[in-house]
């Protein structure tokens, strides 16, 4: 860190990403609360454990190979080979991947991406509650969290990604690279997994399975909103000079940029985050006729729909994009549920997947012709590139691998829990152990009390 300005910029950037990581932790807390609130009493502990163990499993695999994929795959395999130089610096045995006083950024940058990985895996976790085996979900968590989403990030969320170069793909706050892929992945799993017992009547009519604890759901989604601030900030480079970017920008004016190193500002995304949240909430309230959970989820869907272009939209555009997206995804959710008998327990495919697709396509029109990158020779943003990008995210890297892996798991008999366990509840055995232990200790205490000589306190 030579020079005071460089030192300050480095330390600021390091602290900036560190703060985003702390904020993003709330997303995972929120997902856990939402899932447990949505599940029934007899499945609580397993539902919670299923989501909590995503944290260590995705973390270690993201350290071992996920982070290397991001730096190696921007043009692999269709537009060039692996980028060995960039990849080598991010292998788990590289000096950069440890305490290193000449690299203060890799750790926090890695962690910011890692928290996105948790989010992707956690989105899938919500859709499959109360009937998937934890072992099967944890394999999926590693695949979406440390393989497929980070491939899509290398392709479409990297300054040198081939989707950015050739398609003009623009997805500043991850409508596609996190939400569309995770929604598509969740759909691939639940299509093979099947619905929860009782979800559909004999004639195929869907039944509502109400959450056991509405307040937990509410707090859960509010925590996700809070963590989303960290997610948005983490998608930016906080301060960089034109010289640091090294592209077409001229002059001396420093700027915040999106992940593609194209200029934006924290102020812009603050406007647009709040306005798209509001548009989503208002539209969801109307379209769901005041259903509390769809309204709250609609706020999230509004942000997700506007996220692809929230670095550049006007706040009113962000609000309207969020509102339009919510109307589409709400109707699509129920159409898919009725038509294909899909049980998406928390609406994850709709709120994340459909919102992501819709958001990408809308951004293609609203930002038509805008530069996707500060570097020369890149395609500009356009509707065709965005639509192809949406298909790659939702279907190619999301739905397809999830469907294939789930089919293999189903063939091996390791995807779904036995029907007897689904009826008695995943926590049945633990509940019994708990009740037995309680009865035993109460009996022991009473015996000690009545036997005399033992103080009651």
């Amino acid at each position: 860190m030579d020079g005071n300005l460089n030192a300050l910029t480095t330390v600021f950037t390091e602290f900036y990403y560190w703060v985003t990581v702390v904020f993003m932790f709330l997303i995972h807390v929120g997902f856990c609360m939402y899932e447990v609130g949505a599940s029934r009493h007899r499945n609580h502990m397993h539902t919670l454990m299923k989501n909590i163990m995503i944290i260590p499993l995705v973390t270690v695999t993201f350290f071992f190979f996920g982070w290397w994929i991001y730096w190696s795959f921007p043009n692999f395999p269709f537009f060039g080979g692996l980028n060995h130089d960039a990849g080598a610096a991010n292998l788990p045995w590289s000096e950069n991947m440890g305490t290193n006083l000449s690299d203060r950024i890799t750790g926090v940058f890695w962690a910011a991406f890692l928290l996105f990985s948790w989010t992707a895996a956690s989105i899938v976790s919500g859709a499959v509650i109360e009937r998937i085996r934890s072992s099967a979900l944890w394999v999926h968590a590693v695949m979406i969290g440390s393989v497929f989403w980070i491939i899509d990030a290398a392709w479409g969320w990297h300054a040198e990604g081939w989707m950015v170069k050739y398609l003009g793909y623009h997805d500043a706050y991850a409508s596609g690279v996190i939400h569309a892929i995770a929604g598509g992945y969740a759909l691939g799993v639940i299509m093979v997994l099947g619905p929860r017992l009782g979800k559909f009547a004999a004639d195929g009519t869907p039944r509502d399975i109400p959450p056991h604890n509405p307040w937990m759901l509410t707090i859960g989604i509010f925590l996700i909103y809070s963590g989303f601030w960290g997610f948005y900030a983490a998608c930016n480079i906080p301060a960089i000079s034109p010289e640091g970017i090294g592209g077409l920008l001229t002059g001396e004016t420093w700027t915040a940029t999106n992940i593609y190193l194209a200029p934006t500002s924290l102020s812009a995304i603050t406007f647009n985050f709040l306005m798209s949240l509001s548009g989503g909430l208002m539209a969801a309230y109307v379209v769901s006729k005041g259903d509390a959970f769809w309204t709250f989820s609609g706020g999230l869907a509004g942000i997700i729909t506007a996220s692809a272009g929230n670095d550049l939209y006007h706040p009113i555009q962000a609000m309207l994009v969020g509102a339009v997206g919510v109307v589409i995804v709400y109707n699509l959710h129920y159409w898919v549920e009725r038509t294909f008998k899909i049980d998406d327990a928390v609406g994850a495919v709709a709120v994340h997947g459909y919102s992501g697709i819709v958001g990408l396509i809308i951004a293609g029109f609203l930002l038509w012709g805008a530069p996707s990158s500060p570097y020369e020779g890149y395609a500009t943003v356009n509707p065709v590139g965005q639509t192809i990008g949406a298909v790659i995210m939702f279907f190619v890297l999301g739905f397809l691998p999830a469907f294939v892996i789930s089919k293999i798991q189903a063939a091996m008999g390791v995807l779904r829990i036995p029907v007897e366990v689904e009826l008695q509840g995943l926590d049945y055995a633990e509940h019994h152990a708990y009740e037995d232990a309680k009865a035993e200790i109460i009996a022991a205490d009473k015996a000690a009390l009545n036997g005399g000589g033992v103080p009651a306190e």
């Binding site: 077409l248 700027t255 005041g290 550049l312 555009q317 930002l367 012709g369 530069p371 500060p374 500009t380």
Partner: protein
């Protein structure tokens, strides 16, 4: 042609101002936004009125008593 007024970032940021799409249409955007907001109130007023009309005839005296007891 670019909706944001720039089709390249070959610019000096000191000379760049607004970069949102459709600059010059702010008035129209505000109008659309206000229509959305007022429209929302209108829909909500009508629906809540209809709901309360329906709800006031739904109550069962016994159940209401037990609800009052529950506080």
């Amino acid at each position: 042609m670019s909706t944001i007024g720039y089709d390249s970032w070959a610019v000096d940021l000191a000379e760049v101002g607004a970069v949102y799409p459709f600059q010059g249409s702010e008035g129209l955007m505000v109008l659309l936004g206000v229509i959305f907001w007022i429209g929302w109130h209108r829909i909500q007023f009508v629906r809540e009125g209809a709901h309360l009309e329906k709800a006031k005839r739904m109550g069962d005296r016994e159940k209401i008593n037990s609800l009052l007891e529950k506080y």
